[in-house]
């Protein structure tokens, strides 16, 4: 399976601020890759580097094996790009918009487009600027799907969408990617929604890639560990590094195990707290994992600054 997206030590600097630092990722064909990170982490910058909207200051980004700086019309005929902040020809009606976009794509499928129009319930005679945010996003998405792109790049596509539209949107993408075997690269804050979509996840913080693995793997690796200890027990200073956000509240001790292995992780707990009670290891949602990591990064950043 060839890589549709690959970055090698990709960096981008804006003045003194390094928005993306030494980023290396690979997205094989057919994968739905969720690119997560807090605000200002460098997600959108990475996507703009991939789409040749910005140029890297170091490293390289490859799309379909081509240097992203060389992406031309032939490549964009296979790429669908939808971004939250993307400008669109707002003075066009939906119909005019489709008529404008269609000649750019030899693979445009009118029947497929008609089906999507029906599915998305878009009014053809309304101008884009008169549509709600969700409807406008759907129109832009439709214009990026009707030619059956090999790669769909979504940058914060769910921002501002109400839950119903969001659900429709995700279902639409899921159905289509399943049918068409598209590669999807999606960045979002909405971890719950992404969890439904993604089979692979990359977490970026402060321009640096912190995690990059399959959703299954990361969810298997992270556990919320909880157990009871005696009142006088204290948290030792030298806890294992894979125990994140450890805290004691009353008699309860909680932490996030980032390298969970059934049996071994429990044994490690018993090694530190021999008299602890029953050890609970609860699976974590992608959202919980992300939040935990985000707190860890923020704490680390504060430590670094101090």
């Amino acid at each position: 399976m060839s890589d549709v997206i690959e970055t090698r030590n990709l960096s981008r600097r804006f003045g003194k601020k390094e928005a993306v630092h030494d980023l290396t990722i690979r997205v094989p064909e057919g994968r739905i890759f969720a690119f997560l990170g807090p605000n200002g982490a460098g997600k959108s910058t990475t996507i703009k580097l991939l789409m040749n909207i910005l140029e890297p200051t170091a490293g390289e980004a490859l799309v379909f094996g081509r240097d992203a700086r060389q992406l031309g019309p032939a490549d964009f005929q296979q790429i669908g790009y939808v971004a939250e902040d993307q400008a669109a020809p707002d003075s066009m009606t939906v119909q005019q918009f489709m008529d404008y976009v269609q000649p750019m794509y030899p693979t445009w499928d009118p029947a497929f487009c008609a089906g999507l129009l029906k599915q998305f319930d878009l009014p053809l005679d309304r101008k884009l600027k008169d549509l709600s945010r969700g409807m406008r996003m759907k129109a832009v998405l439709l214009s990026s799907l009707a030619y059956r792109p090999r790669l769909l790049v979504l940058d914060e596509p769910f921002t501002g969408l109400d839950p119903l539209v969001r659900d429709e949107f995700i279902r639409g993408i899921l159905e289509l990617t399943a049918q068409e075997h598209w590669t999807v690269f999606v960045s979002s804050h909405d971890i719950d929604e992404v969890e439904r979509l993604a089979d692979w996840v990359g977490i970026i913080n402060d321009g640096r890639l912190m995690e990059c693995e399959s959703v299954e793997s990361i969810q298997g690796r992270f556990r919320q560990i909880q157990f009871a200890v005696t009142d006088d027990a204290v948290l030792p200073g030298n806890l294992p590094p894979n125990w994140l956000l450890a805290e004691k509240e009353g008699r309860a001790v909680r932490f996030v195990e980032s390298r969970y292995q059934e049996g071994r992780s429990e044994a490690a707990v018993l090694g530190v707290f021999p008299s602890c009670g029953e050890i609970g290891a609860a699976p974590m949602s992608l959202r919980e994992i992300f939040l935990a990591l985000a707190r860890v990064y923020r704490f680390a950043a504060k430590e670094g600054r101090s």
Partner: protein, 602 residues
């Protein structure tokens, strides 16, 4: 290519309202510019056209600075959120699409409008063809400047701010560049001529540079989207354009500079000239000048036939017995010595009758009284001294006079003849007159006071005119300035500022034995109405009109029936210098003279 057309069609469709307004503005201005000047008996329409001509260019400019940014920013270059960036449109195709839009929607209609107006103005096809590249360059230059600013900005508000910054920056930088260049050239003598062609050549060179640099920066920005480099190139380019506009040393028209015109005329040694009198100036003049002005008279011998001499400039130093030298310099003549008739001068300009004989054959002048001045063989000029006391110190005393005068020699030449009827045209190169009406009173704002000279004849003519006895011919003068027309000398440029000054009109009736009636006054307001319409935005000086009333003595309808209007133009034949060095020269005594302007019932 399909995507280029696709982009063009999309832009036109999206901007159809502004594009329609733009086309309508050009159409209205073109129609008015083309047809209004030839509406001979519709002064009201003419006045309306003048008003439209004042307002429409501003509207057109406004549309231009709205239309171009909207077209460019349909697919913005400076905005990373732009839709086209992630769509399969190549930068080259987008550039081609926008260039096509600018060419077909902005440039071609504007040029076409101007060409139509120029064609209908009576210019020959050759001159209209010569005007096309000039117009094209000017329209393209303005378009590119606006397009470049639009390409650097993401929306109209930012474009407006950038435009204001550009204008302010241009003003400051051009002041700086000009002062720098003038400092650098302060030691050079005569480096810059004043000829129209030369100045227009600088303008054309600057425009060509603007087109080249603007087009280059625009293409660079489209093909690379490296905005910083593009802005840097643009700033360097603007400085380059400023320098080119000021120091361009060649004439694009290939004409000769005015210095060489002197070679055609009489030489200093050909003509004998002597100072014969200096006395206080007695004619009407501004009160503040009264006792500072003297009149110097020179006798002239061996003056070539059919030539007129006029002192252009010079200085005289008067040294009375007290040994203190009083310097004076020659200024424009207030004495009524006129080459044309615009100031109501009554005298027939010297050399005209000879020129008329030469160009029309044997003629019989019906108003010979006006011919009295033809025998004038002297030269008069006013000499202004610095302080009244300087003049008074010399009056009635013998003084030593030294100095130098520059004299220009002029000759008259038949320019054009046309039948004396409404709508007929006298055409002479870039300029020309259209006869609006003959005999009747034109209801317009043309009835202006004739600023009289001392010549009492003009006053009598005006009175005849007031009584409705005079024969009047209303004409409309067309004045065109084209950069690629062989250049005119400085004298022609000055003449054009006072369009009637260098023209003499006659009425000729060949059926009655070449009888000629000389025009005795030209009644005009000396305001050059600009009627460039579609094009005024592009060049306010390319085409202009002004009206005048030619006043002839009373003539019968029978005589006028077979008459033709004849136009003689004065042209400079050359210039020469004379040195003055006279000892013990008696300056005329002071005399009290009432201020004519003040006492004149007018």
């Amino acid at each position: 290519m399909n995507l280029v057309w696709h982009t063009l069609k999309k832009d036109i469709r999206q901007l159809r309202f502004v594009v329609s307004l733009w086309f309508a503005a050009i159409a209205v201005q073109t129609l008015l510019g083309a047809f209004a000047p030839s509406t001979t008996n519709r002064p009201t329409l003419w006045v309306i056209c003048q008003m439209v001509a004042q307002v429409a260019p501003a509207l057109q400019y406004l549309l231009l600075i709205v239309l171009i940014p909207l077209a460019i920013q349909q697919d913005p270059l400076a905005d990373p959120r732009a839709f086209w960036l992630t769509r399969p449109i190549s930068r080259r195709a987008l550039l081609a699409g926008k260039a096509l839009f600018l060419a077909l929607v902005v440039i071609v209609p504007a040029v076409l409008g101007e060409v139509i107006v120029l064609s209908f103005s009576g210019l020959t096809p050759r001159l209209v063809l010569l005007a096309i590249p000039e117009v094209l360059l000017e329209v393209a230059a303005r378009t590119f400047v606006i397009a470049v600013l639009a390409a650097f900005t993401t929306n109209f508000a930012r474009f407006a701010v950038a435009g204001v910054c550009y204008l302010v920056g241009w003003g400051i930088a051009s002041l700086f560049v000009r002062s720098l260049l003038s400092t650098l050239h302060s030691g050079a003598s005569g480096g810059y001529g004043l000829s129209t062609g030369y100045l227009l050549s600088q303008k054309v060179a600057g425009t060509m540079a603007t087109v080249a640099i603007g087009g280059g920066v625009l293409a660079w920005q489209y093909l690379t989207r490296q905005k910083r480099t593009a802005v840097g190139l643009a700033l360097l380019g603007v400085l380059g354009i400023m320098v080119i506009r000021d120091v361009w040393p060649w004439s694009v028209s290939g004409g000769k500079v005015d210095a060489t015109v002197a070679a055609k005329g009489p030489k200093s040694g050909d003509i004998e000239m002597a100072l014969v009198g200096i006395k206080p100036y007695a004619g009407p003049m501004p009160e503040w000048k009264r006792w500072q002005v003297l009149t110097a008279a020179f006798s002239v011998h061996k003056q070539p036939r059919a030539t007129v001499l006029e002192i252009l400039s010079g200085n005289l130093a008067l040294t009375p017995a007290d040994g203190r030298t009083r310097n004076g310099w020659f200024t424009s003549d207030l004495s009524g010595f006129n080459s044309g008739l615009s100031a109501g001068a009554h005298a027939l300009p010297a050399g005209l009758s000879e020129a008329a004989e030469r160009d029309l054959g044997s003629i019989h002048i019906l108003n010979p009284a006006t011919n009295a001045a033809a025998s004038v063989t002297g030269l008069h000029a006013t000499l202004t001294t610095r302080e009244p006391a300087d003049s008074e110190a010399c009056l009635g005393k013998k003084v030593a006079v030294t100095g130098d005068v520059e004299v220009a020699a002029y000759g008259y030449k038949l320019a054009s003849i046309a039948a004396l009827k409404s709508g007929a045209c006298l055409s002479y190169g870039l300029d020309g007159d259209r006869i609006l009406s003959v005999g009747g009173e034109q209801k317009s704002d043309l009835r202006m006071t004739v600023t009289e000279s001392a010549a009492s004849g003009a006053h009598a003519d005006r009175m005849a005119d007031d009584e409705g006895k005079a024969t009047k011919v209303f004409v409309r003068r067309r004045i065109a300035n084209l950069a690629f027309e062989p250049e005119k000398d400085a004298d022609t440029m000055i003449q054009r500022m006072q369009p009637w000054q260098s023209t003499v009109y006659l009425l000729l009736n060949r059926g009655k034995g070449n009888e000629v009636v000389l025009c005795e006054a030209v009644n005009n307001n000396d305001v050059l109405f600009l009627m460039t319409m579609a094009l005024r935005i592009m060049s306010p000086t390319r085409l202009g009109y002004c009206d005048a009333k030619l006043i002839f003595p009373p003539l019968t309808e029978d005589w006028l029936k077979g008459a033709e209007l004849v136009c003689f133009k004065r042209t400079r034949l050359g210039t020469f210098h004379k040195t003055i060095d006279v000892k013990d020269f008696l300056v005329g005594a002071a005399e009290t003279k009432a201020n004519v302007e003040k006492s004149n019932p007018e």
